[in-house]
């Protein structure tokens, strides 16, 4: 017995009518939930805890924009280190020399398998473990290094996939023109590989923006605070969540445009293939 005859016997509704009715029910449930939430919530309390106007104002006065700039600086430096390190690791992983491949694989698997916060805690303890040891450009040096070490492990895999996605014929054409392997890699393969991995690298950059929030684990001075450290500090001072909310919006200010950029780049790559 087919389902359609069953439906007709049972309800007398056509499949289209049944789909329509199901949609109406879904809308109705949604409206009810929104109304319940709107009437049962204590809006005055919510605004005063999350969006208190005078705290929004003082968050800006206390320097949320400087913290935003710090977040951008930490992320940018770490991205540069991650990109350079990731490229090096990707090339090592594709090397003819076995030990290079093993080292790269061990590094990548190790730092991809660890939570980033563990790496940051380890970095925060370094001065204790090695008294007198300093990393230059405080606080940038230590932040860039810690973030960059984690980022390079992620980016290495993306870049390796990009290099391998360049058609074999490209290398053959380059070699047949007399280019040595290294030159062919630099002039022909890598430029194409980076085009291919631009969208996933943009996604890595978004992850890096968010991971930069772990910097407070290292214990930088107050003038080195990025958005999360700054927001947390201020929220504790005021005993109010508004500064954290403002900082949250600042993250979205960075990550949402990057997300849009990544999707555009993906669409462009899809078109040119």
């Amino acid at each position: 017995m087919s389902t359609s005859t069953q439906d007709v016997e049972r309800k007398g509704l056509s499949p289209r009518q049944r789909a329509q009715r199901s949609r109406w029910i879904q809308y109705a449930v949604l409206v009810v939930l929104v109304l319940v939430a709107a009437f049962s919530a204590d809006w005055g309390q919510i605004v005063s805890v999350f969006f208190k106007p005078e705290f929004i104002k003082s968050t800006f006065q206390d320097g949320v924009l400087q913290a935003l700039v710090k977040t951008l600086e930490y992320t940018a430096g770490a991205f540069v280190i991650g990109l350079a390190g990731g490229t090096l690791l990707a090339l090592m992983k594709l090397s003819q020399v076995g030990p290079y491949r093993w080292i790269a694989t061990a590094y990548i698997e190790f730092f991809r398998g660890l939570p980033a916060i563990v790496v940051f805690i380890a970095f925060s303890l370094l001065p204790l473990a090695f008294p007198g040891m300093t990393i230059p450009w405080d606080p940038y040096g230590v932040v860039w290094l810690a973030l960059g070490i984690v980022a390079s492990a992620y980016m290495a895999e993306v870049i390796r996939a990009g290099i391998q996605a360049v058609p074999k014929g490209q290398v053959e054409a380059a070699r047949s023109l007399g280019m040595p392997a290294g030159l062919a890699m630099r002039k022909i393969v890598l430029p194409q590989a980076f085009r291919i991995v631009l969208p996933p690298l943009t996604n890595d950059l978004i992850l890096l923006v968010k991971d930069s929030s772990l910097v407070f684990m290292i214990g930088v001075a107050a003038d080195g605070y990025e958005l999360t450290g700054f927001g947390r500090d201020l929220a504790n001072t005021y005993s109010n969540l508004t500064p954290i909310v403002v900082c949250g919006f600042c993250y979205l200010l960075i990550t949402l445009p990057l997300g849009i950029l990544a999707r555009r780049l993906e669409a462009r790559t899809a078109r040119t293939r």
Partner: protein
């Protein structure tokens, strides 16, 4: 001295013995067309001439230098051997002009002006002066293949290898590429061409080589090999290529 000399060449991919002892030479200024059924090893033979494939046995001697010797300067040898691929393999991130200058600049260390001049001259030679700033994706298959020819010519090679240069082209674009190749042959370029274009082979080649099953079955002037083949295998192949709908008479 022969420009290219190949001695008892063997090449296997795993258990697939593709070349089974090839001996053959290309003289300076000669145009040699290699024909044969697919899987006969003709592309592999061509790719062994600039060592894109490494043969297991035998020698490839280019201008007196054995390039199968592990200590030979392979990159230097490859500069003298231009190669044109079935799938063009243009560099998609570079303009037509930059495709023709990148190796001149980096390998031959020519100045920007000189590389530019050579590239423009060769793009004009293949009839694409007005496309120098176009990127490969903006060009038709026939135009891309002509840029690929100009790219190889820009290195001033002593020998040009063509690996089925028209097989990936729409039929109406084949003529443009063959015209460029014919002109090149008339200019005295030494050419080794793997092709299915029998009319081209017949008209342009000084010598036609018929391969089947990894060996050279028959070679000689096109009038002999294509016009009056001695070997039964050659005849069967040519019958299939030249008259594909022919029905064998039943005896």
């Amino acid at each position: 001295m022969a420009l290219v000399e190949i001695k008892s060449l063997h090449k296997s991919f795993g258990s697939n013995h593709v070349l089974r002892g090839i001996d053959f030479t290309v003289e300076q200024g000669e145009v040699v067309c290699v024909i044969g059924p697919s899987g006969s090893g003709k592309s592999t033979l061509l790719r062994c001439v600039n060592l894109l494939e490494t043969p297991q046995e035998g020698q490839v001697i280019v201008r007196g230098e054995d390039i199968t010797d592990p200590d030979c300067h392979l990159d230097a040898a490859r500069q003298q051997i231009g190669m044109v691929f079935q799938q063009f393999n243009l560099f998609p991130h570079l303009s037509a002009l930059a495709n023709c200058t990148v190796a001149q600049r980096t390998v031959l260390k020519r100045s920007a002006e000189e590389a530019d001049k050579v590239a423009r001259a060769n793009l004009e030679r293949v009839g694409l002066s007005e496309k120098i700033d176009a990127y490969p994706a903006q060009l038709s298959g026939g135009q891309q293949q002509r840029v690929a020819i100009a790219r190889a010519l820009s290195m001033d090679p002593a020998l040009m290898l063509f690996d089925e240069p028209t097989s990936a082209l729409d039929p109406e674009l084949v003529g443009d590429v063959l015209t460029v190749m014919r002109k090149l042959a008339l200019d005295g370029m030494t050419m080794l061409v793997v092709t299915h274009e029998m009319a081209f082979a017949r008209e342009v080649a000084d010598r036609v080589v018929f391969m089947d099953g990894g060996v050279i079955v028959e070679q000689g002037p096109p009038a002999d090999v294509i016009g009056d083949p001695k070997e039964e295998r050659t005849r069967t192949f040519l019958r299939r290529v030249l008259d594909p709908t022919h029905v064998e008479p039943t005896s």
